[in-house]
Structure formats: structure tokens, C-alpha cells
């Protein structure tokens, strides 16, 4: 029998964490994602799987607890929203530098600063271009439904361990708070055998190992950086994920991720009824970004509209993908506002189609 429930996105990601065999969740309340911590506490995961849930004193403490847990080879995760994710950036940089796996969920809200508690996509650049200091990358997944909140969590853990790299799930307050049908997979048991690099105690048969991102010798630090970069090229080669919606025989293309892609799916449907040949590409991995796929399509297109809940952040990656071959326009809402399907279509007609 299928295990189908009606749940908030925040609750789905929490339930998925238990089922993915996560060892620990560290968190701190912040709207609009406090339900992740609350749901986990209410489920008593220590009884269900032995998973640990801890409310820390701040997000700075959280990310360093994550660093410690990840160093033990455990499946550890956290969730927060913009202001909290900003507080974690220092730790994220260290974790990436030390090549440890973990999953960080950002239920974005409007910024900058404390901003609003309504949904936003304004943390895109922070997520995909670094956020913290130094040359590092996060693998970034962008769910567009409550189902994907659940599904992407186990994908995120798999990628994190495959590449020994932090993975971010970049979602927003709309998906976090809305309720949808979600089907859960079976419980995965927690790992019993830790990776060979994990802090499990120095027994006589083990080499000494120090988990660190500090390499003071610049020659060695460069070699370490080269190793990281090689890993990122591997990730770019293997892990690009995207979804094409109504993209056969089209003249125009809309590119949007997460909540915006849901809105734009409707815009595309309305456009088809009106005879406008427009399709939708939804990047699922924001890093690695589907540059190649978008670039391949530009020759047969008349224009691209990027739609985001920010001032135009993914727009920069879309323009890199198009590489000057085609004019790319943008429609966005900011500060917690969500565009309507009709206004997206209006923007397409005014900014892209009527230009021709």
C-alpha cells in the first residue's frame, strides 16, 4: 500500500529526513520553516530510528554542530531561512573546505536584512555562487512541490556523500507552508558503517587524521583547491538536472525554478490556448546549472524570459548560458511577492513577443 499524506512542505522534508536514515538534525526556530524542527521533535525520531534532533542556541551553533556531526561521518542536516542561512555561511565554507557531507535546507523569505516572512528566491546567488568565502561550490537543488521536498532530501544526502560536499535544498516559504499530497518511500535504515575518513576514534590500526580546512602553505592550499575544482567539474558533468515542460516546437522560452516554475507552468498553458508557442525550462539543480541545455535551444528561439521572485539573479546564469546569442528579458517580484500566471504572460508578450 502506498504511503500518501497531505502535508506542509516543511513537514514533508522533516518526515523525509527520518525516512532517509538521517542521523541528526540541528536547528533553530525561524519563520517560515520552524515546522521542520517542530515536526521532527513531535515525531520522536530517537524512538523511530535513533535520529537525534537538537534545538541549538543560534544558527551559528547549528552549522558548527553540523560540522562536528558531519566529521563523524553521520548523515546530518539543518534547515533555516535567509537570515539564519546567512549566519551559517562561515561554517558552510569550512565544511566545503574540509570536504564533509551535509544537507542544508533554505526556506527562503523576502530580504535583505530581516525582510519579511513571505516567500522569495532572493538567496539564489548566495546559494549558487558561494555565499561564504573562498572558492567552493554547493550542490543546489530547487524543489517545486511538496512531493519534491520529500524526494530531493534523499537525493541530497546521496549527492553529499558521493562528492563529500555540502548540498543545499533551496526552497521558499510558499512550498514550505503549502499543503499538498505527498507519497513517501520506505524507511531507509541509518548507516552502520562509517566512511573511512570519519572521526570514529584513533585505534592502533588507523592513521592519524585531522579534519581541517586550514592549509597554511600556499602551494599545498593551491593543490587542495585544484582537487576541489576537479570535483566541481565532475559534478557539473554528472549532476545537471532540469525539467522541460511543453518545449516541442516553440518560439519562446520561459526559464524559472521552484515556486516560480509552478506559476510559469500555468502561464505556458494559457499561452498555448492563445496560440503562443512558448515552453518552460525548470532548472532542478541550480548548481550545476543547465547551461548546455539552454545554450542548445537558443538557435531555434526568438526570445527568453526569465521569471524569478527576486531582482534577477538566475538571470545572470541564463545570460551566461545564452552567451549573447539571444536577448534575455526578465520579470520578477521582490520582497515576498509572488507573480501571477497572467502577469508573467503579459511580461512575455510585452518584453519578448511584441519586440519582434
Amino acid at each position: 500500500m502506498k504511503d500518501i499524506r497531505l502535508m506542509k512542505g516543511n513537514e514533508a522534508i522533516a518526515e523525509a529526513a527520518i525516512r532517509a536514515g538521517a542521523d541528526a538534525y540541528f536547528g533553530y526556530p525561524i519563520t517560515p520553516q520552524s515546522e521542520v524542527l517542530e515536526y521532527l521533535m513531535s515525531q520522536k525520531p530517537e524512538e523511530r530510528t535513533g535520529m537525534i534532533v537538537l534545538q541549538a542556541e543560534s544558527e551559528v551553533a547549528v552549522i558548527n554542530m553540523i560540522y562536528g556531526g558531519a566529521g563523524c561521518g553521520k548523515k546530518v542536516m539543518t534547515s533555516s531561512s535567509g537570515p539564519g542561512i546567512s549566519l551559517m555561511q562561515e561554517g558552510i565554507s569550512y565544511i566545503a573546505g574540509a570536504e564533509l557531507p551535509c544537507v542544508i535546507v533554505n526556506i527562503e523569505r523576502g530580504g535583505p536584512g530581516l525582510g519579511t516572512i513571505q516567500p522569495s528566491q532572493a538567496d539564489y546567488l548566495q546559494a549558487v555562487k558561494g555565499g561564504g568565502h573562498g572558492d567552493y561550490k554547493l550542490i543546489v537543488l530547487a524543489p517545486a512541490s511538496v512531493q519534491e521536498m520529500a524526494d530531493f532530501l534523499s537525493i541530497a544526502f546521496n549527492l553529499a556523500f558521493k562528492y563529500r560536499n555540502p548540498v543545499m535544498i533551496l526552497s521558499d516559504g510558499a512550498i514550505g507552508q503549502m499543503m499538498e499530497k505527498v507519497e513517501f518511500s520506505k524507511q531507509i535504515p541509518r548507516n552502520k558503517i562509517m566512511p573511512e575518513w570519519a572521526t570514529t576514534g584513533k585505534t592502533p590500526d588507523r592513521e592519524k587524521n585531522i579534519i581541517t580546512s586550514i592549509i597554511l602553505d600556499p602551494e599545498k592550499q593551491e593543490i587542495h583547491n585544484q582537487k576541489l575544482q576537479k570535483k566541481y567539474r565532475e559534478i557539473e558533468k554528472n549532476e545537471v538536472r532540469f525539467e522541460k515542460i511543453l518545449c516541442d516546437d516553440i518560439e519562446y522560452l520561459i526559464i524559472a525554478f521552484g515556486t516560480c516554475s509552478r506559476v510559469c507552468q500555468k502561464s505556458v498553458q494559457i499561452a498555448h490556448e492563445k496560440g503562443i508557442k512558448v515552453g518552460l525550462i525548470r532548472p532542478i539543480t541550480l548548481y550545476p546549472f543547465p547551461y548546455h541545455e539552454i545554450n542548445k535551444m537558443t538557435d531555434r528561439l526568438k526570445g527568453i524570459l526569465t521569471v524569478e521572485m527576486n531582482a534577477g539573479q538566475m538571470l545572470e546564469d541564463v545570460r551566461l548560458a545564452v552567451n549573447g546569442k539571444l536577448k534575455v528579458e526578465f520579470h520578477g517580484r521582490m520582497g515576498g511577492m509572488i507573480p501571477t500566471p497572467e502577469e508573467v504572460l503579459d511580461a512575455l508578450e510585452q518584453k519578448i513577443i511584441q519586440r519582434k
Binding site: Y28, P29, I30, T31, S34, L37, E38, M41, S42, K44, Q55, E57, S58, E59, V60, P83, G113, L114
Partner: protein
């Protein structure tokens, strides 16, 4: 020419705003706000010099509700921002409004350091022992074993006592008040404002939605006289409905004694010395808790010490008098200079 001027006295109305106060009906914050508005005119501080700084949380909405300069800042960082304001502009009267989440959790670091530096800032710590703004998770002051949204089986962490932290951080002023006694808040706030150095006023505040009645054993009408002791400098530590109980010291410990019983005389009751630089008794007073002791209210500690911004500006003045170079021109011509031929 003589111009006649009329000296206007400030009243609480000068600090009131017609803004709607967006705290829940029945929130302890309303009484505190009103007490602050009444206390400020009594401090004699010019209204234009008052700044209210806050962090994040329910209490931190305070600057919107009072007619002064305001600074609604970052979660936990209010103490650092208030420090910056006071050091940059020592003429201002700086007030920091914070909560048990804001200052005891993420802001713990800045909280202890403002006290250690003894910057002349007045801190109002609204302690409702819960996270109100995020809707009911436990905080660092939530009593052990409390059931909240994030502790369905009860908390397993020992709570902080803000007074303990204040003493540990070498704080020079610590007072405790309850939100059910506006006069007590007002009187203590005036003392806090007059204190030179960081003043910490802990306000036991009720959160009617997420932690209702958390302080009722202390504030309840029936019990408050027996369960609170209001401390005043130079006065004996006497409390109780019949004013017949007091604090005595036996060896290293405080004890509650009844005057007239077991040979205890009124003269045996300890006299409160808030000004003593030695904080041993202040620490013991701040830790007194039910059911063995009444909870200490009023100004528990108020002692003189160096104030950071005074020391800083003194150091700057001293450096200026010692320095031979007085201006940029002199600076440019000092050291190794040569003429181009």
C-alpha cells in the same frame, strides 16, 4: 535683551505614540511600555537624546511604540549595536530592549561583553521564558522539563539565570522586576537610568499565548507578598504579607527566618547593600528561588566602576595632549622628509 523662556516638563504623553501596539492583548509588554513612558520623564534626560535599540523577538518591537529614536536591529546583536551607538555618541541615553531568546541564546556573547566593558547602556530584558515570535519553542531560560513545541517530552537543558550571567560578566547593575507591578518597574528604571555603566533590568514577563502563567507563582495576587522580596539599598531584607519574614545569613547560606521565632530579632535580618563591589551576596540574592526562598526583586546590585566610554575618551584626550603632531600639515612634515631640488 532678556528672553523669557518657559521650562517645559516632560510627561509620559511625550513618549506615547498613536501607533497601534502589535503585542497580543494581555501581553506583559504593555505594562512595561507604559512604565517606561512614565519613568523617562522622571530621569531628567532630554527626550531628544533617548535612543531605543532592540534585536529580534516580540519585545524587540518596542522601538516602534515609543516616541524616541529607534533601532530595530539583528537577532541577538542589539548589545553590540547599542555599544557602538554609545561609544560613537556618548551624549545619547541608550536603551536596549531584548528578550530571553535574543540576549540569552544567539546574543549571549554580546550580552556578556557589554556588561564586562560596563558601557553606559540600560538593558531591559523581557524574560517570558519562551520564544514568542516564532510561536512557542523553548528558550535558554525555559525551566527544566518544560513541554513546548520543540520539547514534547520536556526540556533537558538547565536554564540560564540572567542575574547569574550578569555577575559572572562583572556587571555593575542588576535589578529584577515583574510585569504586574508597573510602579516597581518605573522606580527601578529610574535607578537604572541614573546608574553609570551597564544596567541590566530583568523583567519577569508573561506570554499569554505561549507560556501563560509562567511567573504566576511569583506574581499571583495571593502569593506575591510571600513569594517576592523587594530589596532596597540600606533597608532590611524583610518580606511577607505580615512583614514578619526576613533573610538571615547562617554560615555560607541565606535562610528565611520569621521575626520573633527561634530567637530571631529584627536586628538579625540582613541589610541590603546594593552598592558593595563584592558581588557574593548579590549573586546569592539573584539565585534565590521558590519554594525555599522568595524571589528577589528591585535593585540587587548597583556598584561604581569604570565606564568604558569615559575611559576611552579619556585615553583619546590624553593621547592628544602627548602627541607632538597636532594637525595634518605637521603630520606630513614629520619623520623623514626631504626637499626636491
Amino acid at each position: 535683551m532678556n528672553i523669557e523662556t518657559e521650562e517645559l516638563e516632560l510627561s509620559y504623553k511625550d513618549y506615547k505614540l498613536d501607533q497601534p501596539v502589535k503585542w497580543c492583548p494581555g501581553c506583559g509588554g504593555h505594562a512595561v511600555l507604559s512604565a517606561v513612558q512614565k519613568a523617562l520623564p522622571e530621569t531628567g534626560i532630554e527626550k531628544e537624546k533617548v535612543v531605543f535599540v532592540s534585536g529580534i523577538g516580540c519585545s524587540s518591537r518596542f522601538p516602534y511604540y515609543i516616541n524616541t529614536y529607534g533601532f530595530h536591529s539583528l537577532h541577538g546583536r542589539g548589545a553590540a549595536i547599542a555599544s557602538g551607538i554609545k561609544v560613537a555618541n556618548p551624549n545619547l541615553s541608550v536603551w536596549l530592549v531584548t528578550g530571553d531568546g535574543d540576549s540569552m541564546a544567539i546574543g549571549g556573547n554580546h550580552f556578556i561583553h557589554i556588561l564586562r566593558r560596563n558601557i553606559n547602556v540600560n538593558i531591559l530584558l523581557f524574560n517570558n521564558k519562551i520564544y514568542g515570535l516564532t510561536k512557542g519553542q523553548y528558550s535558554p531560560t525555559t525551566p527544566l522539563g518544560s513541554i513546548t513545541k520543540t520539547s514534547p517530552d520536556g526540556t533537558i537543558e538547565s536554564p540560564f539565570l540572567p542575574g547569574e550571567l550578569a555577575m559572572g560578566a562583572q556587571g555593575t547593575f542588576y535589578a529584577r522586576v515583574v510585569d504586574t507591578d508597573p510602579k516597581m518597574i518605573k522606580d527601578v528604571l529610574v535607578e537604572a537610568a541614573n546608574h553609570k555603566g551597564t544596567s541590566l533590568v530583568e523583567i519577569l514577563q508573561n506570554c499569554i499565548i505561549f507560556n501563560n502563567q509562567v511567573h504566576s507563582e511569583i506574581t499571583g495576587k495571593e502569593v506575591r507578598e510571600d513569594n517576592q522580596i523587594y530589596l532596597e539599598h540600606g533597608k532590611p531584607m524583610i518580606f511577607g504579607k505580615n512583614r514578619d519574614k526576613g533573610i538571615i545569613q547562617v554560615g555560607q547560606k541565606f535562610l528565611v527566618a520569621k521575626i520573633g521565632e527561634n530567637g530571631v530579632r529584627k536586628e538579625d535580618i540582613l541589610i541590603h547593600d546594593a552598592h558593595n563591589p563584592d558581588d557574593t551576596r548579590h549573586y546569592m540574592l539573584s539565585r534565590m528561588s521558590l519554594p525555599d526562598y522568595p524571589v528577589a526583586m528591585g535593585v540587587i546590585r548597583a556598584c561604581k566602576s569604570n565606564v568604558y566610554e569615559d575611559m576611552l575618551h579619556k585615553q583619546i584626550s590624553l593621547s592628544k595632549t602627548r602627541e607632538k603632531v597636532k594637525n595634518v600639515n605637521e603630520l606630513l612634515k614629520s619623520g623623514n622628509v626631504f626637499n626636491i631640488q
